[in-house]
Amino acid sequence: MQLRQFTRKTTQSVEGIMVAPRSWDEMSGVYPNATETQPTLLAVGGGKGGVGKTLVTTSIGIAMAQQGKRVVLIDLDLGGANLHSSLGVRDSRASLNDLFGSAEQLGDLVIETGIEGLGMVSGAHDALNIANLPFQQKEKLVRHLRKVDADYVILDLGAGTTYNTLDFFIAADIGIVTTIPEPTSIENTYCFIKSAFFRLLNAPGQPQDVRQVIQEALLRRHDDALSIRSASDLVREIERIDPVYGRTLKIRLRQLDLRLVLNQVLDTADIQLGRSMEMVTRRYFGLEMPVLGCILHDRSVQRSVRAQRPFMLEYPNSRAAATFEQIARSVMQGEE
């Protein structure tokens, strides 16, 4: 099998995740002394369904594989898996569900996609209740993500803000937020970032007064009488109440290494929207979310979905394909 012929990278920094708080360390199985070669984890999420998360996952994966990287895509749209259909993969002998049964390693579930350098873990034929993955199984899955023999592992997440989806997103080295220039999508995107933000803030072990401030902020609606108007205001307030815990939180928030992909872009105003979202996210959340790329709206995408053929292979000369190649290069350059 092609994937087994891969040679491991010699070294890979894990500094970005060594700062994780203890509970996350335990969940991700990453410790400061870890020296094993590990893949870079990318998670493609965004809150809303139908914005192109699977398209982004497959296209970046294919672009990276075409540029010589060993890539494994994992369908973590638990309960709504369809990554295999996007890639036209009908081999469903192994699926993610087997990790909680007969399979010893996640790597054992990697199947070929027919594209050199690209494998996938399918979610086809998963158990109907897999969306409600118990904590221990989630813990095992996240731990195994780091053991997959590849340069890049790309997680295709489902819509919504369930704890499972948020935890996979947080566990990744880079979180690619995918959205389209429509109010509902933008609203869900910010809701997704906010949920991930509070998921990190709400880790166990908070001092009582800090917990109270966080709970008040969670319940907050638009109320001009409150001094806490944004997520970054909240962190500042926590820092004021408890400087030591505030610093810990800031370090924890660095785990959210966000990038934005704006899909179905129609004109220059939409491209400007990406830059505006970057500015607003910096001010509101205190987080950087640089724009990885803007994908032009292209009817060919629908045609490739219907044909169950990857867009990157069906329309390799399209402008959208060129943007995906550029996005892949950008991610790889940032990691090297």
Binding site: P181, E182, P183, I186, E187, Y190, C191, H222, D224, S227, I228, R229, S230, D233, R236, E237, R240, Q272, L273, R275, S276, M277, M279, V280, R282, Y284
Partner: protein, 208 residues
């Protein structure tokens, strides 16, 4: 939480460094106004109407200060010495806070407050024609002679730019250079001016 703990500096508001040029400040201001426009998708669902109004007011104040060399220098000085002070030091210093010598200089050099209607027009317009440029210059209390001194562009050229009537054809490349410098002196984003100045639209190598 006291207000000054969460009040970003004008530079932070616009997302520019303290060494940012006038062009960078103007460009950042324009981008920020687009981002926090109440109709902008980028702020959808995050802010209330009142919060957006407050942010836009902060952006206007930041730009008003940083786009004016004199006010900016005063603001930088206030920032440098304001570590333990309150919000007053973060804003534009008032005349009551300066020494008599500085007061005279301020009276001589302080630009005129722009009419809010003109500010709105500057933000919204998609056509920086000559007459509008002249109105902005006059509203800021900047004379043709002052621009000529600072840019080394002839007074006649400057008047022709404002009138958009050229006594003889001028190479578009020169006109663009003049306009860019003119825009910088009166605190406008040169890119916006160049891209909307009527005589430069659909022109050949020569204008006029």
């Amino acid at each position: 939480m006291s207000s000054n703990e969460t009040t970003p500096t004008h530079y932070e508001l616009l997302g520019v460094s303290r060494k940012a040029s006038g062009v960078e400040v103007a460009s950042a201001y324009r981008a920020a106004k687009q981002a926090w426009d109440p109709q902008s998708l980028a702020v959808y669902s995050l802010y209330s109407h009142n919060e957006l109004s407050a942010i836009n007011h902060q952006l206007d104040e930041a730009y008003r200060t940083l786009s004016d060399p004199f006010l900016r220098a005063r603001y930088d000085a206030a920032l440098a010495g304001q570590e333990p002070t309150g919000p007053a030091a973060m804003g534009t210093p008032t005349l009551s806070e300066v020494s008599p010598g500085e007061e005279q200089m301020a009276q001589e050099e302080a630009p005129h407050e722009l009419d809010p209607a003109l500010l709105e027009e500057i933000e919204q317009t998609d056509c920086f024609d000559g007459p509008l440029l002249a109105r902005i210059r006059q509203a800021k209390g900047i004379s043709i002679e002052e621009i000529a001194d600072r840019t080394k562009i002839g007074r006649n050229h400057l008047r022709e730019i404002e009138a958009e009537q050229f006594s003889r054809p001028i190479a578009a490349v020169y006109l663009k250079g003049y306009l860019k410098q003119y825009a910088l002196v009166i605190g406008l984003d040169p890119d916006r001016v160049l891209s909307t100045y009527p005589s430069l639209q659909n022109h050949g190598n020569w204008v006029g």
